[in-house]
Symmetry: D2
Subunit: 121 residues, 4 copies
Amino acid sequence: VRFFEGLSDRERAVFEAGITLGAIYHQFTGTPVNRDNVRVVERCIEEAASLQPCVEDVEVSIEIPDGSEDNYGGYTEVNGRNLKVTVITRCGEWRVKARLEFIEELDYPLMWIEEIERVER
Amino acid sequence: VRFFEGLSDRERAVFEAGITLGAIYHQFTGTPVNRDNVRVVERCIEEAASLQPCVEDVEVSIEIPDGSEDNYGGYTEVNGRNLKVTVITRCGEWRVKARLEFIEELDYPLMWIEEIERVER
Amino acid sequence: VRFFEGLSDRERAVFEAGITLGAIYHQFTGTPVNRDNVRVVERCIEEAASLQPCVEDVEVSIEIPDGSEDNYGGYTEVNGRNLKVTVITRCGEWRVKARLEFIEELDYPLMWIEEIERVER
Amino acid sequence: VRFFEGLSDRERAVFEAGITLGAIYHQFTGTPVNRDNVRVVERCIEEAASLQPCVEDVEVSIEIPDGSEDNYGGYTEVNGRNLKVTVITRCGEWRVKARLEFIEELDYPLMWIEEIERVER
């Protein structure tokens, strides 16, 4: 598309990785989850996010800490502390691996780029 | 819980059905969906919503109309026009069947109570 | 609408209160918030939720505890622990006051009906 | 933060712009809106998104087409067709202008980078 003419493939792979992480976080946090349905929720996030432009692969892991279900509702919810995501985007020759994970030292669910590599077309 | 002392079981079943429909709509609309992942998204919504208080069963159907995937992204998203939900809540002797569906004559994704029945404890 | 023929006005006010609380929680949790923008976010939730059927008034209070902004991002987000909502619905002669608030003894962001009253038409 | 060591400032500005657009879309689509509350909703999105890392400015415009409020509810909702966003991110010497807008020829709410410029520190 002409909209991406000013952007290199490498930059576009970075941009789309950002979109996908922001989208996942703000679409799915709040979703009720416990040990019984966690795998279904993880797969839903993986398969929904994989549809977005340039996304090659998505891996989602939601941790259900001991005790987090021992409340009135018997479940917890997807949030910035229990959600870990790896997104792989690909644009032309460039592949980007981006991550979302809660980083204790920052007290923040950080989204960052872990790796950028050039691949065979 | 003492919080529900002023409410009859019948009313609580109605209240929880409302919560669950409002929650589903506003949690999951916007989720990327196409023919390939639709069943996973439906199951995720069903299993997540089933965790909420008094919810006995949830059935979700997302319609992917012909052509709705023929765009730049190759997918559509869960929205008020393609999402149909049936929620069954139960509180004491009362069972409520609530629905969400886009009603053309209202031009609106309506949430309503279809049936209230008294059941054996 | 014919869809509500089987429901009393009192029950409909209860149902719509449930919808509105479920909608608010799942639409707005995750929204970035700190002391600077909190009033704007509260008003947005109040005015958006007030558009829903039978809703007469909505009051939202988001608490920003000391230290909750002292992280990498300098902000926190709307969540089940800091969000308090009062929704007033009205249907015919019936007015319902519903609440959302995190209840420590339940370790859960509870939604409940606090009051149902008959009012002059 | 060490997490961004492998990324240039220019790339980080691109990445954060992507995050912010993805976040806005998936956090706020579904929000009830009409002519009466639209400015409050726009400001809420602008001020919430402005809190995210490296974001310098956000402008949001939600169009309420004639007739879009003439339904059972008397309102419409924020969605991919009526939402326009401009996000400005800044990282070191680099400033990025990113956009979200529904593009008819693509039948898709596109997110793209409109401009990258080097600025005085």
